[in-house]
Amino acid sequence: MAGLPLACLTQAGFASVMHGTTHLIRLPVPLPPLDSPSWQSPLRAFAWGVRSVASTVLTLVLFATYLGIGALAHDTHFSLGWVLASTALVWAGPAQIILISTLGSGATVVQATIAVTVSAIRLFPMVVSVLPMMRTPRTKRRHLVLVTHFIAVTLWVECFRLLPQVPRERRIAFTHGLGTGLVSVCLVANAIGYSLAANLPQLFAAAVLLLTPLAFLLSTARNCRQLADILALVLGLALFPLAATLNTGLDILISGVSAGTIAYGVHWWRTRE
């Protein structure tokens, strides 16, 4: 018994404990080396993409979130086919939550459209920053359409982590696999959540809905590289409640553009010094 705390105090003991945890947190599915023959066929690159779904804890977060979206859709009287179609077509968790809850609370289609459009602006810079990783001199724009559709927070984060381990000419096939895998997991989660909704305790539903803000906050915080990003995150959180008091329906756009511009202004001012 006495040996256990002592072992934990040594560096090796700590490392072994930490090593054990990393295994739990991130199941290792090592990708083959860049020069491996298994990258020669696009089909196998696609399969590696599908398999990589199991390599990230964000898949679990997505599964639980889409379980919640399925349950939310059931409670607001949408059909199962509708919520499955929304996952395949919209493929953005917060947009789906905003869409279902605004329509469910009796808002007009125009109000719902504005709320979703504003929340979706973030996809633009994500697409702009991720696509250069996949382009080759021979890539045509139409080759990137499906990849572009798959881009949302999770795929964006995972592309930055995984694509450097994939040969450039196989990255599109790999991302198609990753996107297909993630969407499939979420469709299954939707169906399970929808059918269990009536039996789910309210506490569980609340816990699932809390996952989106938690996972988004933390994955954005982890991706913050410059002062402008950190300031934008902090100011964006702080200014939203102020903008919401204006009651314009464009709250997120107002707080987002002003917080982002202030953050950029500080960045511009500091680089001039």
């Binding site: 947190i25 977060v61 939310l72 607001t76 059909s79 086919g81 509708w82 929304s86 077509l89 919209v90 947009a95 905003i98 869409l99 279902i100 719902a112 979703v116 929340s119 979706a120 602006i121 973030r122 996809l123 633009f124 810079p125 994500m126 697409v127 702009v128 920053s129 696509l131 724009r141 572009t148 881009i151 506490l203 609340a206 809905l209 809390l210 989106t212 803000p213 938690l214 906050l217 933390l218 954005t220 402008a228 990003d229 934008a232 995150l233 902090v234 959180l237 200014l239 939203f240 919401a244 709250d251 997120i252 756009l253 707080s255 987002g256 982002g260 511009t261 953050a263 960045h267 511009w268």
Partner: protein, 114 residues
């Protein structure tokens, strides 16, 4: 078919209020992104605005909670997210520990409130 997908009206609403608003920004990124230099100042501003909008989406879910999340008192929602963020920082940016920490605080708080 009609039972599974619902009526045509609700599918039309899905396309107009759900699919198009998201797809427009994605395809705009595909269309215009080719000309944007990765290190350009414009992209720094665009990314700052995108991050702040995402922060707004996070704040909206916390301040005006949808569905069952509304049954959790305001202070407990904020405390849970703050605790999750604290755990994330303490574990040198582990999203897993942060998410689990935040959820545990929320569940413990609800259990304690009874």
């Amino acid at each position: 078919m009609s039972h599974f997908l619902g009526d045509w009206h609700s599918l039309l609403v899905l396309v107009i209020a759900g699919f198009l608003p998201n797809e427009v920004w994605r395809m705009l990124g595909l269309w215009l992104g080719g000309g944007v230099d990765e290190g350009s100042e414009l992209l720094v501003w665009v990314r700052a605005v995108a991050t702040a909008i995402l922060a707004g989406v996070i704040a909206q879910i916390l301040v005006m909670p949808p569905g069952a999340l509304a049954s959790v008192p305001d202070w407990l929602r904020y405390a849970a997210v703050a605790a999750g963020f604290g755990a994330f920082i303490l574990t040198r940016r582990s999203i897993f520990v942060g998410v689990v920490g935040g959820e545990v605080v929320m569940l413990a708080g609800k259990w304690w409130l009874g």
